[in-house]
């Protein structure tokens, strides 16, 4: 248990460390959500219709930014050897890394999501649902993104490769999350789409660690 806490604290500290982290992701998030009204036109009706979807897609994109840091740095400087020979199985260590990524990067972005949606014209009543969906979505993004990051190990300059691997896998949460928010705004039943989003996030948490550990072992060999 203490080994788990030791690794979690280290990952959290690295997530917040200088040269990136949540501020960078938040800045990117603010940039994307600001660019859209500039290109789509300022009509409030049109923006309000897009608000939920924009907040959601920008979250997926911003989650990609710091993924390269997740495994690649540890691989390059040899820390992945240390982690692989530690007290926890590699599967659990990879899950801890993704959980810390979720807390360090995903949670601040999730807090920004309702703000961005409201700024674009979504009603304030939708904020709790957008926040909850963003937290769940960020959890899925962290674990699916971690899988992409582990698969891209040892390919030089893997950042773009990670995005290409991960973006297709983010299709289901993009659909379910956008549908839940859209249904809520339209006054329809949002729970089914939300439940599907939760199912996807939980499946990612359950399955991704095995894929990440296998990919790490492959890269270490």
């Amino acid at each position: 248990m203490s080994a788990l806490g030791v690794l979690f604290r280290r990952e959290l500290a690295l997530g917040w460390a200088r040269g990136g982290g949540p501020l960078l992701a938040l800045g990117f998030y603010a940039g994307v959500t600001t660019l859209l009204p500039l290109s789509a036109g300022p009509a409030p009706m049109r923006l309000a219709a897009l608000a939920g979807g924009v907040a959601w897609v920008a979250l997926a994109l911003a989650s990609l930014i710091s993924l390269e840091r997740l495994f690649e740095r540890d691989f390059e400087d040899g820390a992945l050897d240390l982690i692989a020979l530690g007290p926890l199985p590699l599967e659990l260590a990879a899950a801890v890394k993704c959980a810390a990524q979720w807390i360090a990067i995903g949670a601040p972005l999730s807090l920004a999501a309702p703000l961005a949606a409201i700024a674009l014209g979504a009603p304030a009543a939708a904020a709790p649902l957008i926040l909850a969906a963003a937290l769940l979505g960020a959890l899925a993004f962290a674990f699916v993104g971690g899988t992409g990051a582990a698969l891209a190990l040892a390919s030089r300059r893997g950042g773009l490769l990670i995005a290409v691997i991960v973006l297709p896998l983010l299709t289901p949460p993009a659909i379910f999350g956008g549908a839940a928010i859209g249904a809520f705004l339209a006054g329809l039943a949002w729970a089914p789409a939300f439940a599907l989003l939760a199912a996807y996030a939980l499946a990612a948490v359950a399955l991704a660690p095995f894929a990440m550990a296998a990919a790490c072992r492959n890269a270490l060999g």
Binding site: D77, L85, G221
Partner: protein, 205 residues
């Protein structure tokens, strides 16, 4: 390794590492054989790949590495193996003390032991600096601290003395001698001979 083996680079390596672990490692005070590490492998003739094969990261082309003992090989490695490659596994942006304590506690040692090991390695002045501002030799010593701070029976070291000056080499050599005296085992890949009595196995083209 994704690299295809080239003809003529294969080496048959057959040797037996017997690992005896003294009481200080938790088995009472008798000297008990904890694991025999049996290596009989064919691979690319490279010191580094031997170390990584024993650590379980590389599957040899032929042969295998066997840990005989109470736990399976994977658990044995995770509980009793230190691997320090030619890199230091340190993050430049973090404080040296944080990195040291993480590495030590992750390997099973305590924070106090980590600081004691750093003092022994002559690093007490550098602990509050960022890792990036340390010299290569200081980083190397910082990485080696966990060998002392988190006792494990088998040390797999790749060029452990690179970048170290004479005084630091003596400190590391003393730690190595202690480890061997307490029944531990060191497998080191080196270009220059180690400053302690050791059996030498020539590998490589």
């Amino acid at each position: 390794m994704s690299q295809q083996p080239k003809r003529g680079q294969h080496r048959n390596l057959v040797f037996k590492l017997s690992l005896f672990v003294a009481g200080s490692f938790a088995f009472g005070f008798a000297l008990v054989p904890l694991y025999d590490v049996l290596c009989s492998i064919t691979g690319l003739g490279n010191q580094k790949s031997l170390l990584r094969a024993v650590a379980g990261f590389i599957r040899p082309l032929e042969g295998r590495v066997v840990f005989t003992g109470p736990a399976n090989a994977d658990e044995a490695r995770r509980a009793h193996c230190h691997l320090i490659g030619h890199q230091d596994a340190l993050k430049g942006v973090r404080c040296a003390r944080d990195e040291l304590i993480f590495q030590t506690r992750w390997a099973g040692g305590s924070g106090a032991a980590a600081v004691a090991a750093a003092e022994r390695m002559g690093l007490q002045a550098g602990l509050d600096l960022e890792v990036r501002s340390l010299s290569a030799g200081q980083r190397r010593r910082l990485a080696l601290c966990r060998l002392v701070a988190a006792p494990r029976a088998l040390w797999l070291l790749d060029e452990p003395l690179a970048a170290l000056d004479a005084a630091s080499r003596a400190l590391v050599a003393a730690a190595m001698s202690e480890h061997l005296a307490s029944g531990g085992l060191i497998v080191a890949a080196v270009h220059d001979p180690l400053p302690i009595p050791a059996r030498t196995l020539e590998i490589g083209p």
